[in-house]
């Protein structure tokens, strides 16, 4: 094979490779992205991050699946959802009760006193309200209406004595294997 022919072959191969790269990039851009979340915590403050991410992802046109496990199961439990709480005890990040006096911190150990958790919960709800953050139920509705899957961990249901009728409408009961199969195809997977 002479040098000219060799060069021609190499050029053709390089051109084809470049075309394949572009085709792959186009396919990748057109492919629907997938978000897989594990929501493991059931306090008021920790219920927001997975639901904000899930409702945003469906708004971006992504596929979404949230696996609610352990205390996170309370978020999709219709009897517990309206009563999720935040406890000030052991939480040094809890802001001062009077925003104008940030140095007036309640000593953390006082968080153990009766009534402190309801006070902190009411406080946090008022902050969310003032900032126009929608209730958790609204973010759940957006996620569901956008085709997002809400998976209830069946092991947690068994351990905590939660039945299907305790769960919000549309919640799907799944085990770890089924969720992992969904998550295996995810572009973004987070444990919260």
């Amino acid at each position: 094979m002479d040098a000219a022919l060799q060069q021609q072959v190499e050029e053709l191969v390089a051109k084809r490779l470049a075309e394949i790269e572009i085709e792959k990039a186009i396919q990748d851009a057109q492919r629907v992205k997938r978000l897989a979340l594990v929501a493991s915590k059931g306090s008021l403050d920790m219920a927001y991050p997975p639901l904000i991410l899930a409702s945003t992802a469906v708004s971006l046109g992504w596929e979404v699946g949230v696996f609610f496990t352990f205390y996170g199961l309370d978020i999709v439990n219709k009897e517990k959802l309206p009563f999720l709480k935040v406890a000030p005890i052991g939480n040094p990040a809890m802001p001062a009760p009077i925003a104008a006096i940030p140095s007036l911190q309640v000593p953390n150990f006082l968080g153990m006193l009766p009534g402190m958790t309801p006070i902190a919960t009411a406080m946090m709800k008022s902050w969310f309200d003032r900032a126009n953050i929608p209730p958790l139920q609204d973010l759940i509705d957006v996620t569901r209406e956008g085709g997002g899957h809400l998976y209830a961990c069946t092991t947690t249901m068994g351990v905590m004595g939660v039945n299907e009728e305790n769960l919000l409408e549309g919640v799907e009961c799944r085990g770890a294997a089924a969720f992992l199969e969904f998550a295996a195809g995810a572009d973004v997977a987070l444990f919260i």
């Binding site: 409702s55 708004s59 046109g61 900032a131």
Partner: protein, 82 residues
Amino acid sequence: MSALVPTVSDLFLDSKNLLCPMPIIKLSQAIKKISVGQTILTETTDPGSQYDIAAWARQTGHELLSTENEGKIFRFLVRRNK
């Protein structure tokens, strides 16, 4: 920083005083109400929305035609592409 220029759009969406994720959720709901080729003008005050709405447009394939801001108000013109 450019001044606010009156822009013609098919739908106006007020998302002022709303934080993430609401401007994005409302925008994705609103875009379903217009036809392909039509536009939405949306106003926000959340500084994050400058980046969020651009990302939303890239992810959904709709087009962010223009971004403006004046003071604390951000204004976006978006065209439905599909």
